[in-house]
């Protein structure tokens, strides 16, 4: 299993902490998912922040703060610094949003923010598209993990560009790749892991399921299955049929 800035995860799932029906369901879903990382954010303190932090600490997982909602380099860099102080980690899920409808990243601002934060000693996890050239720029900027989207955040559409995601995997054999955003079903997470991705990051698919705890377990199983399948070296698909039962020895019954 690949390491993320020197950290090996017990289970390659990063789970978001937003939108659950209740804090208790959040905690149960985390346990059922076996997620090794929890994504969190920073918002204006309105009284609930300290209880939330106590809940997350009790989960005993590693924390990955995000810069969700930031639209500029300055906003993202400042938020990252504030997150590093509060959460006491150099890890930052770098989001620099470029479009309000699709929530897709602003690639130019993303690269610039990644460069600044890397120079400031952060371990940057960039939320990016599956664009190969952008991925190269992020690696040049110092990123040692890439987190391409499967589909727009919260859409549940799955892996929209299998070809592009496969190309990234082939092009960056030594960079840990996390499929981040857009997953709606466990089978989609399994597909990413079968393709050789190193982890999956999701939130809405679990939090907004009718039964978040059951869905969390379903994702845990799918990720385990996909990981095992990749390690087992899948067969090559082919266009024509080939009989699996031996032809030799078949009776003459016609």
């Amino acid at each position: 299993m690949r390491d993320f800035y020197g950290v090996t995860l017990a289970n390659p799932l990063m789970l978001g902490t937003a939108q659950y029906p209740s804090p208790a369901i959040l905690a149960d879903a985390f346990r059922a998912s076996k997620a090794a990382v929890a994504t969190v954010s920073l918002r204006r303190e309105q009284g609930a922040g300290q209880d939330f932090w106590a809940l997350i600490r009790d989960l005993g997982v590693r924390v990955l703060p995000n810069t969700a909602g930031c639209h500029t380099v300055k906003e993202a860099v400042t938020t990252a610094h504030m997150a590093r102080e509060v959460f006491e980690t150099p890890w930052i899920k770098l989001e620099v949003i470029g479009h309000t409808d699709t929530l897709q990243p602003d690639p130019f601002a993303l690269v610039e923010a990644a460069r600044i934060l890397t120079e400031d000693g952060f371990h940057v996890f960039p939320y990016t598209t599956e664009d190969l050239v952008l991925a190269e720029r992020l690696v040049e900027a110092g990123c040692r993990v890439l987190m391409p989207w499967g589909a727009p955040i919260g859409s549940g559409l799955g892996l929209n560009n299998i070809y592009g995601l496969r190309t990234l995997r082939a092009h960056f054999p030594d960079i840990p790749l996390v499929i981040d955003a857009g997953l709606g079903l466990p089978s989609q997470a399994a597909a990413a892991m079968e393709m050789g991705y190193d982890a999956a990051l999701l939130n809405t698919a679990v939090a907004k399921a009718g039964d978040p705890v059951a869905m969390a377990r379903a994702f845990a199983l799918a990720i385990e299955a996909g990981t095992l399948a990749h390690a087992a070296d899948p067969m090559e698909p082919r266009d024509m049929a080939t009989p699996s039962t031996p032809v030799i020895g078949k009776a003459w019954l016609a």
Partner: protein, 65 residues
């Protein structure tokens, strides 16, 4: 003096960011601060003097994806 704390106008005795954090009841909590869009580390709050019209942000851990 009048400042803006987390988007709301507020009177504060000041004179420093550390004093405002204390006054607002956040002294012992897990928070991060910024003034006029610039991050102010916890250790620098007592040196950061506030002036009329400053925009102060006090942020805390929150749910995120």
């Amino acid at each position: 003096m009048k400042i803006c704390l987390n988007g709301e106008d507020r009177e504060t005795a000041g004179p420093t960011l550390a004093a405002l954090v204390e006054e607002a009841g956040f002294a012992a909590t897990k928070i991060a601060t910024a003034v006029n869009g610039e991050f102010v580390p916890a250790l620098a709050r007592s040196q950061r003097t506030l002036t009329e019209g400053d925009r102060v942000e006090i942020l805390a851990p929150m749910q995120g994806g």
